[in-house]
């Protein structure tokens, strides 16, 4: 781990990420995760349940958000806790471009047991899509 725990400060921001979500990504995620719910692939089904269009799997958004932490820390296994609330869906239009989500992270707590709490943010089209997103990272 190249990060020096002693040098960290509460309020410090982690490098953010901007990631595209396309229909192809949703199909790949459905196959790898086993979550074949049609609202993530079929716009007729999505619209029939009142959604504006096909939406991303909340767990795909969660899986991508943590990269802010794991890219920063290097070894993803130093994440000891991770939780999110899926507040809004990421709507993914079938236009080859899809949706763009901006992910960010900020240190909100530094603990005596050498753990750090990071609050994550995920914003799509100006709307927060993950709430109460937090990860705890343990330093050796």
């Amino acid at each position: 781990m190249s990060i020096d725990f002693e040098q960290l400060n509460v309020g410090e921001e982690l490098p953010g990420l901007e990631l595209q979500f396309t229909r192809a990504d949703l199909i790949a995620y459905a196959n790898a995760s086993g979550d074949q719910n049609p609202i993530h692939q079929d716009e007729i089904v999505a619209k029939s349940v009142g959604l504006p269009d096909v939406i991303s799997h909340g767990m795909l958004t969660m899986g991508r958000a943590i990269r802010v932490v794991t890219d920063w820390v290097g070894d993803p296994t130093s994440v000891v806790e991770y939780s999110v609330r899926m507040t809004r869906p990421v709507v993914v239009p079938d236009d080859g471009k899809g949706a763009t989500v901006k992910f960010g992270g900020k240190i909100t707590q530094i603990n005596a047991n050498r753990t750090v709490q990071i609050e994550l943010s995920a914003v799509c089209d100006g709307t927060t899509v993950l709430g109460q997103a937090k990860a705890i990272v343990a330093f050796k």
Binding site: L19, D25, A28, Y29, N31, A32, S33, G34, D35, V49, G58, M59, L60, M62, G63, R64, I66, R67, T70, D71, D75, P76, T77, V79, V80, E81, Y82, S83, V84, R85, M86, Q132, A135
Partner: protein, 147 residues
Amino acid sequence: MGMNHDMVGFVYPDSKPYLVTAEKIAAFAQAIGDDNPIYFDQDFATSLGHKSVCAPPTFPIAVTLTVMEEYFNDPALNMNYSRIVHSDQRFEYTRPIEVGDELVVRTSVEEIRPLGGNEMATFRTDVLSNDKLVVTAWSKLVVRGEE
């Protein structure tokens, strides 16, 4: 028509083991678009002190979701599967998931409560390998009330 609150505290029998392979880890990492070498490169993982490549933090859902989906359809729970929305997810990791792990999921119904006109249910899934805890995941689902 609501969910059966008597099911709170119920523990389902352990699931059949899920064998973790390097291919499954790589496929999941690829699907979330994460190219961290710890998910793909055995030598890199070893250099960090791990036995094998390790699974990404949200990988356990690929193991627990298929197990839970069976219970969402359990008539004893009386959960309207077509009206479920996944609202919260939490993981507490005991150790990384590695190649060769035979993961068994022990699911319990932790909470069922009303939420406005909806209902909220929390499933706790303890993921074990060789009877030892690897990760605990909590999935909170909102069952939207009928309009």
